[in-house]
Symmetry: none
Subunit: 200 residues, 4 copies
DNA sequence: GATGAATGAGTCTTCATTCAT
DNA sequence: CATGAATGAAGACTCATTCAT
């Protein structure tokens, strides 16, 4: 097997196990048993268990950042309304999370109970999205689209909390509603929930 | 020292450590060092590390349930508007979480990365509050106070996610804004955010 | 068993094994089997295998330094001849090494094949004795007792090499000749070997 | 690359590493990285790590023996004085060791911390030279050149220890004094140190 | 001959738990 | 009740060696 494929194979098996049992309850033994490879093989591709986890997070984070930037570039910011932009953000995030429920679970839940570097690796996602929403709101206020009297800090947290909790509930706990139609409906609901109080 | 005090002492030290480092990164050694007691003493009050954690969760959950029921009984449901009731729920939850940021952190973050019974012990809180909000929304729809066309499942998750994320952000990450005034302001903001889209 | 005794017990068993098989060929398993204790016990007294080795070296080095200083203080430097002083140094060193052949072996042989900190811990002895002899020779030259035309560097190495090799050969390889009489004879021979060419 | 060259290449790289880090702290990975060859290639020329080490020792030992016999045959034993013969032995040994400081280090230091066959392979040198000196002294005593009252065993060890320690100090630790002139001076010093007490 | 991915036995180390004092 | 020395199962990681290409 080629080097890249083997690395990917290990990551995939580790991902499934981390998502199901958490980081600490997943042993290297579990990963090699799941992948059907020898113990030493893991250490040819990763420096250790931590490296597997952070690699997983790194890759996912890179995809996340890329997805944000690509999608954002694709839209014509001048031709859409603030409402449409908000809906795009929400839909974009939900679609990304729905795509890989296991990583979604690790990032939103399993990873938050860790400490040190592992924790940091998992928390970056939430920090990133919180930053984006905060920036969006700030721009919205400046342009007059968003009401001036809202507390941006609180509102950003409300929105992020609402979106991520909902994503986790439906994509991970319920293991359903991951089709485009459901996502569209969820996006609409989220937008409709916040829009009246958000926009001028 | 009395039996109860000793037990409490252990729980308090364990709580602080669990909150700071997480369950797996907190050793019995850390707890006894922090409490200044002997190793064996821990096992006179708890059957083991898991028991300390679940005891912590059990106690907290009992307080949580009690807080809900007491406060709910205290208000006269007939004399307040649905909006006031919603605000009461939010404010009540925030106050409870603000009271003990360490447990708040364990319940909302550190505990979610666990597996098995430990996970269940930590997740009960979120399930409970989700159930309550769901019930409230259902009642609201039936009574005509809440709009009939909303998706209760999604809305319940949005609200729970928004409230808990905001609580964690301000009470744990920011380590501030835990005074009554701040909580009042947060409650108002949350209510104002959801009210327009929620109520008929 | 008291803490100190247990620690000593582990050190003694480790010493015997290190001396017989060398550091790398001695496993923690060997040490606990030899001492008849549990695996974990070792780690209550030492941070690891390295710590056992360096503790052994540290203790031995402290004894070595103490032995030098005590004995040196005991003698009246003004009342003895340079020849007598030289004999005293040699005899003192041989006596010390004869006292614990296992540590003698570790210090003079087994320890020299190590790397990093372990190596340093074992090499200190030879460096110390080389420094002492060099100082002695320098003083001797200044006082006129030692011939001015000798190369101190070379002579110091010759003497140290001769003494230590002889000690290792008789005390460790031959496992004999460790009684006071043999040591006295060895000292005399060594002194008689170097004296004619050393002293004015 | 020719078979012999490749074999030699591996040995040279291994030698440098063994000398610097010792046997146990040198991995096959280090050797192949240093030589810039593939892992499997090593096993086409050697049966394993031990074989590399013992091959190194075997070759060096063969050279050592050859150097002794050639040089000894070259001189006319009847035409030189015992003193000249002693000087020749010392000079011969120093020249040999100065020629390859890395092997000198392995043989005199790094190799002595090993166990089993590896140890034996490294210790042969010292045993050989000790045997030669012992024989020389015996012959000297018989022929009347060497004083009858010396203890041959002790004196042989003194001389071997002195010479080898000095060689290691100047050739390996100091990394200098390896030119013919320095060696000549060292030889003279060593001879002058022992001659007065050695010869009748 | 050369390669390098794969192997797995071997070791160290951790840490929750026990129990005699 | 309190203590803390002792335990040993469990788990991460290493590295010499193999073998199919």
């Amino acid at each position: 097997m080629k080097s890249d494929e083997r690395r990917r194979q290990i990551l995939e098996h580790a991902k499934a196990l981390f998502s199901r049992r958490g980081y600490h309850n997943t042993q290297i033994s579990d990963i090699i048993a799941s992948a059907g490879i020898a113990r030493g093989t893991v250490y040819q591709y990763f420096t250790g268990k931590e490296d597997i986890f952070t690699s997983l997070m790194r890759e996912y984070y890179a995809r996340w950042v890329k997805s944000i930037s690509i999608d954002t570039h694709r839209i014509d910011l001048k031709s859409i309304t603030p409402l449409e932009y908000f809906r795009f953000r929400v839909s974009n995030t939900l679609t990304f999370l729905a795509n890989d429920p296991e990583l979604c679970n690790i990032v939103l839940r399993m990873g938050t109970g860790l400490s040190g570097e592992l924790s940091a690796a998992a928390r970056r996602f939430e920090k990133k999205i919180l930053g984006l929403i905060t920036d969006d709101l700030r721009l919205g206020v400046r342009s007059g689209a968003v009401r001036k009297d809202i507390d941006i800090d609180i509102f950003a947290n409300l929105i992020v909390g609402a979106v991520l909790k909902t994503a986790h509930y439906f994509f991970v706990e319920r293991k359903s509603n991951r089709d485009a139609e459901s996502i569209a409906k969820m996006s609409d609901t989220i937008v409709s929930a916040f829009a009246p109080s958000l926009f001028s």
